[in-house]
């Protein structure tokens, strides 16, 4: 049996239709020899498509898709070209240190010496919290875990957070609030594949994770794919083509839409009153709020017709009643708001009213974005968190983790600042003066990025670990060259909570080091006696112990089991040795086992449009690029396909300021301006412009965005800010 088959051998492939029949069958037939290649997963998004790498040098390494339940043998252009990243020009192979204003090559000893000295000097003078850490949702589980441990045990700083705060935090907070637990999809992604009704809220997987669409084929063909998005995205177009629905809402009106649909579910008899009575609490608190969101009122706020809302609710209920599968899935469009947590709670309220969560064949989930967006939010790089999805202010959690780390629980710091608050405090009185960045490019990806860029320059020392000179690395004082995906071993946890192995296919270029080595070395240099192992497998075994008993319990997941092809979804412990593909079937993870309706209301965007800034800007991704684009912009084929920075706008809106297709325009908000080529699109709402966020400099979309933060999740308002469009004189 091949490794390929074993890893995917969970019985679900029998029902799959492979996307890429020829190549995948050919690979599948190969024996697991070196010649057959290395089975690993994609460098990019949270779907973590399975792929096989052949070749053993940077130049001859080739990527082929591999049969696996999540991607069914498919890969998008990013995945196909991911080997190019390994041979991208500008790969960093030596540490860089800023001298006389220039980044110049330095030895590892010198670079780490500068870092260690700065840490010690700064902490001695200004206290532990004067050194901060910023992580990323693309880091492996081992690195995410070790980074949290390094911050709490070696640096003993509370100042650690990561870019996942800007990704999954609202969905996570709302999930915990209602279900007692946050796992993006509480069921295998393949469950969606049999559903006849799927409502996507602010999700555009046709561009953000294309192979995910294979799981939507049945719904689309049944006319049951429904997409709520301000734009007619390729995903929404697919829905419409199949006879499904596009709910073209105004940005930031998602909560009103969800409450209006909940209203309709109740008044038109689609609510599952039995489920509400038996398996939930709090309906009586949410319903009176939804009752005031008459669909006719929601229509005025969202721009979504009552008939469309009604049809969407009816389609979900019909699929549920006929046992043909009904799912509601949210993503960043709905979540990345200053009211994101409440908005997701409203969406969950709709799902609960329809009785979808916690039952086989139906459900609610959030589509995790970053490569390790799931695992990365579980193991302690979040300001308020310890490994295993434990809370840092929970004494029992502190005691457990401190014991694993061999330290006194009292020595563990408490919760620190959230991502934007952390970055905007840099170099201020009482704020951090030294920052270490791992797996993130906040100069491009932070909200109100001009402010964040300014704060970075106020630091005494900025240390960036990356394998390319990202916009953030370019302004660093020390740049440490690290490994990238195909050069390292580790695990990632995909969007459905399944733990996957990342495997090494190549030896890293001479001069690069793993972050695990960097932290181990630095810990020693700053006088920390705790052991920081550098072998990923050893780190994973420690992570297992640290997570044991926590909500995200990995204790029974071993590399041996993963390498033997077992499909393991957390929690996976001695009590649940086979893992938990489907959560909540018997009870929710709340203390009383009931899912909670949370009484939330629609508030709307923090920044209203007005005469000066009459349009709403919303941001997102294009298919060819990933996140800040630091990686994908290095791949020539992707750049050629995606073109340059653009602003998508209705032709009337463009011509009102004298702009036409291809013209260069400035998009201006109260915080900054972004230069982009006009792309006219008749399907745009006339009051909305869309900007992709993959570029820096003048083309940086986040120069515009608003850093109003969600009170619970601290998610910034990425998806709605007031702007105007200007022709360039």
């Amino acid at each position: 049996m091949t490794t390929d088959l074993m890893e995917s051998g969970n019985g679900e492939l029998g029902t799959c239709v492979d996307v890429h029949s020829r190549t995948s069958r050919a690979l599948e037939a190969d024996a697991p020899s070196e010649r057959a290649g290395v089975a690993t997963h994609c460098a990019y998004c949270g779907l973590q498509c399975a792929m096989t790498l052949t070749g053993s040098t940077t130049t001859d390494l080739a990527v082929a898709p591999r049969r696996f339940p999540t991607n069914r043998g498919g890969l998008c252009q990013k995945g196909w070209t991911s080997a190019e990243l390994l041979r991208a020009p500008g790969r960093l192979t030596t540490p860089l240190v800023r001298r006389d204003g220039e980044l110049v090559p330095a030895s590892w000893d010198d670079a780490l010496g500068i870092v260690a000295d700065a840490i010690v000097r700064t902490q001695t003078a200004y206290g532990r919290d004067a050194v901060a850490v910023f992580g990323g949702g693309g880091l492996t589980n081992e690195k995410a875990y070790q980074l949290g441990k390094f911050a709490r045990v070696a640096l003993r700083t509370s100042q650690i957070d990561y870019n996942g705060r800007w990704c999954m935090s609202s969905a996570a907070a709302a999930g915990i609030r209602s279900f007692g637990l946050d796992r993006g999809l509480p069921f295998p992604v393949t469950d969606i594949g049999s559903a006849h009704a799927v409502l996507l809220l602010g999700a555009n997987p046709a561009e953000t994770m294309p192979p995910f669409l294979t799981h939507l084929v049945r719904a689309a063909e049944a006319g049951g794919l429904m997409v709520a998005d301000p734009r007619l995205t390729p995903t929404a177009a697919k829905a419409v083509d199949g006879g499904g629905l596009h709910l073209q809402l105004r940005p930031g009106s998602d909560a009103a839409l969800a409450l209006g649909m909940l209203h309709l579910a109740v008044t038109e008899g689609y609510a599952d009153r039995h489920f509400i009575a038996e398996r939930t609490s709090g309906f009586d608190d949410l319903w009176p709020i939804a009752a005031q969101w008459l669909p006719e009122r929601v229509e005025r706020v969202t721009g979504v017709a009552v008939t469309t809302m009604r049809a969407a609710v009816a389609a979900l209920a019909r699929a549920r009643d006929t046992e043909r599968g009904a799912y509601i899935l949210s993503a960043r469009g709905t979540e990345q708001h200053a009211t994101g947590t409440d908005t997701v709670s409203a969406c969950i309220g709709l799902a609960l009213a329809l009785g979808l969560p916690g039952n086989p064949g139906t459900g609610y989930g959030t589509i995790t974005g970053q490569g390790n967006g799931q695992g990365g939010r579980e193991h302690g790089q979040k300001a308020d968190q310890l490994p295993g999805y434990r809370k840092i202010d929970d004494p029992a959690a502190r005691a457990h983790v401190a014991a694993v780390w061999g330290v006194d629980p009292a020595d563990l710091p408490g919760p620190g600042r959230s991502a934007f608050e952390l970055l905007s405090a840099l170099g201020t009185d009482g704020g951090p003066r030294v920052l270490m960045v791992h797996g993130s490019n906040p100069v491009v990806s932070a909200p109100d990025a001009r402010v964040v860029s300014e704060r970075l320059t106020a630091l005494d020392l900025l240390i960036v670990s990356d394998f390319v000179l990202s916009e953030t690395a370019a302004v660093a004082d020390v740049v440490l060259p690290v490994l990238q995906w195909a050069e390292e071993e580790g695990t990632l946890t995909n969007l459905e909570g399944r733990v996957l192995r990342r495997r090494r296919a190549l030896t890293a270029p001479v001069g690069c080091r793993s972050e695990l080595e960097i932290w181990s070395e630095l810990a020693g240099r700053i006088g920390c006696s705790t052991d920081f192992p550098t072998d990923p497998r050893t780190v994973f075994d420690e992570l297992r112990r640290a997570s044991a008993g926590g909500p995200a319990d990995y204790s029974a997941v071993t590399w041996e089991r993963l390498d033997a092809g077992e499909s393991l979804h957390w929690p996976c412990s001695t009590e649940r040795p086979q893992g938990t593909p489907r959560l909540f079937l018997d009870a929710f993870a709340t203390p009383d086992g009931l899912a909670r309706f949370v009484p939330v209301d629609h508030v709307g965007p923090a920044e209203a449009d007005d005469a000066e800034f009459p349009l709403v800007a919303t941001t997102g991704r294009v298919l060819q690029h990933y996140q800040s684009g630091a990686q994908t912009r290095l791949v020539a084929e992707l750049c050629a396909s995606a073109g340059e920075m653009f602003v998508q706008v209705h032709p009337d809106t463009a011509s009102a300021v004298g702009l036409g297709e291809g013209d260069l325009a400035d998009v201006v908000s109260r915080r900054g301006r972004t230069r982009a080529a006009v792309r006219v699109d008749e399907d745009m709402r006339a009051d909305v412009v869309f900007l992709p966020f993959h570029w820096g400099g003048e083309a940086r979309a986040n120069s515009l965005t608003h850093a109003a933060l969600d009170p619970t999740s601290r998610m910034p308002e990425f998806k709605a800010c007031a702007v105007r469009l200007e022709a360039i004189a």
Binding site: V17, R22, P234, V304, L623
Partner: protein, 522 residues
């Protein structure tokens, strides 16, 4: 309660009064500055009146109409007094007399409370015409109606309709306005044989024009209601041993009516305002700060008349409550209420009707631009009235898909899309971003066939000409179909077309027969 707090006394526990209490608490959450008392005549906690027609239709119960869960008001230090009327007010002494009518357990009681700010949110009452047989006794406003006759205003009315519908097999709804049609729709859902009697030539005549009204008449009849137009009910007769209950119209026609629902409009409740001595026209006259003619006395909701308008819908009352809360608490001292754009939307799953703004404008009116679409046999009618490129009125019947975009255009006063057909559809006429259903022959070479891998038609044609003549071979050569797989049929169609168009020729393909293409692409 300390006297350093100001006491706001709200008369009326309806949707406007209750909302005002809530808005004040949002601005003073700890009740540090304001004590709030809401006095309501009905014995129930505040409920959502707009949902009553849904209760009649059977979707929800009266309990589901509560505005807030039990204990909500008390937990927020809002003193709600139900089953009680404000019987008199002394505007000089700033006091009010609260009385119960003696039907409750407490018997007839009176007490006097002091207030600093008085807000009238007394709403309106159903107008029931003095037709023979509708009242139990002498016809006068507020008098008891005869058995089998229900006005449609309160949750208790709603309960009576539901109860009567259980035994009634026939009902006559007097009045074909919004409420009458919603009541008729609800009764139909309960299996009652319903006739709507309306004195005008078409229902909802205040919101529609004649053409739209004619289409609506067809729609109403189409869902199973009888509709009698241009007539009024002259008398109603209770059941006797020999004759079932019925109504007699002005032309002598008799209609069986086990139940009569009166939906002939509402009148603002201004009796208290008149007694106080406030300026009252149709309603209590208020200015842009919701102030009446007497200092510290305010009015909101359906009892208030603002700039000559008396609202009949909930949204203006809510908007007024927000502004008045800003004014009273000082949280926005400059807050003013400048009116609410009125949009009427019939709430019935099978009648999709929206009406907004100015609609009774002739298609050829020189001062307006009017677009119209009439499709009576399918129950569709759309009329859009524009002035200076902005939507100032619309009737949308049976074209619900467009309602979302159009209501927002109307509300925001934005410039309408230049393409008027798109305007009417509420979306672009041709959608971009999809390759499905597109003629492959006519598609430009730069068109992306495989989005996941950005593979263009030209690239596939090139691969085909280099020998990749199957989907699998094209996939290997270009990666087309290897992402989400949904372009597989398009690639297959392209290969079929190329095979038939240029079996061996390396030169560009002639345009093939469209039929073959369609087949291949399907």
């Amino acid at each position: 309660m300390t006297r350093t707090r100001r006491h706001v006394l709200v008369v009326g526990n309806g949707m406007a009064g209750a909302r005002l209490a809530e808005e004040i608490r949002q601005r003073d959450p700890e009740a540090a500055r304001f004590a709030v008392t809401v006095v309501g005549e009905e014995p129930h906690p505040a409920y959502n009146r707009v949902l009553l027609s849904t209760v009649v239709a059977g979707g929800i119960t009266p309990r589901d109409t509560r505005l807030k869960p039990g204990g909500w008001w008390a937990a927020r230090h809002i003193d709600v007094v139900t089953g009680t009327r404000v019987t008199s007010v002394d505007v000089d002494a700033h006091t009010a007399t609260l009385g119960t009518d003696g039907t409750g357990r407490t018997g007839r009681t009176e007490r006097i409370v002091a207030w600093d700010e008085l807000v009238l949110a007394t709403g309106s009452t159903s107008f029931v015409p003095p037709t023979d047989g509708l009242y139990a006794g002498a016809p006068r406003p507020g008098a008891v109606l005869a058995d089998g006759v229900v006005a449609f205003r309160t949750v208790d009315d709603c309960g009576r309709i539901v109860e009567a519908a259980g035994s009634a097999s026939t009902a006559v709804v007097i009045g074909g306005g919004l409420l009458g049609l919603e009541a008729a729709r609800g009764l139909l859902a309960r299996g009652v044989d319903v006739t709507v009697v309306h004195p005008q030539d078409f229902p909802m005549d205040r919101q529609l024009d004649a053409d739209g009204g004619a289409v609506l008449s067809r729609v109403v009849r189409g869902i199973g209601a009888r509709l009698v137009l241009g007539r009024f009910v002259a008398a109603r007769h209770a059941r006797t041993d020999s004759v079932p209950a019925h109504v007699v119209l002005d032309d002598g026609t008799s209609l069986a009516a086990d139940l009569v629902v009166v939906a002939t409009g509402v009148r603002p409740r201004t009796d208290l305002a008149v007694a106080i001595g406030l300026d009252v026209a149709r309603g209590v006259v208020v200015d842009d700060r919701l102030a009446t003619s007497v200092p510290h006395v305010h009015a909101i909701g359906e009892c208030a008349e603002h700039r000559g308008e008396v609202p009949g819908l909930v949204q203006p009352g809510w908007d007024q409550a927000r502004v008045l809360a800003d004014v009273l608490t000082g949280s926005d001292p400059r807050a003013v209420y400048e009116g609410t754009s009125v949009l009427t939307r019939l709430k019935a799953p099978d009648i999709d009707l929206a009406s907004m703004g100015t609609v009774d404008v002739d298609v050829h009116d020189p001062g307006h631009e009017v677009l119209a679409f009439t499709d009576p046999s399918r129950g569709r009618y759309a009329k859009l009235v524009l002035r200076h490129d902005r939507l100032v009125g619309a009737i949308l019947l049976g074209v619900g898909d467009a309602a979302g975009a159009l209501t927002q255009l109307y509300d925001t006063g934005s410039v309408a899309p230049r393409d008027r057909l798109s305007l009417m559809l509420g979306r672009a006429i041709s959608r971009s971003g999809t390759t499905e259903g597109v003629n492959l022959a006519e598609m430009p070479g730069t068109a992306v066939i495989c989005r996941c891998n950005t593979v263009t038609k030209s690239a596939i044609v090139g691969a085909f000409r280099s020998g990749a003549d199957t989907v699998g071979a094209v996939a290997d050569a270009t990666r087309a179909t290897t992402g989400c797989g949904s372009c597989k049929s398009a690639v297959d169609g392209l290969c079929s077309w190329l095979r038939s168009a240029e079996p061996t020729s390396p030169t560009p393909a002639p345009v093939p027969a469209p039929a073959a293409l369609t087949e291949g692409a399907a």
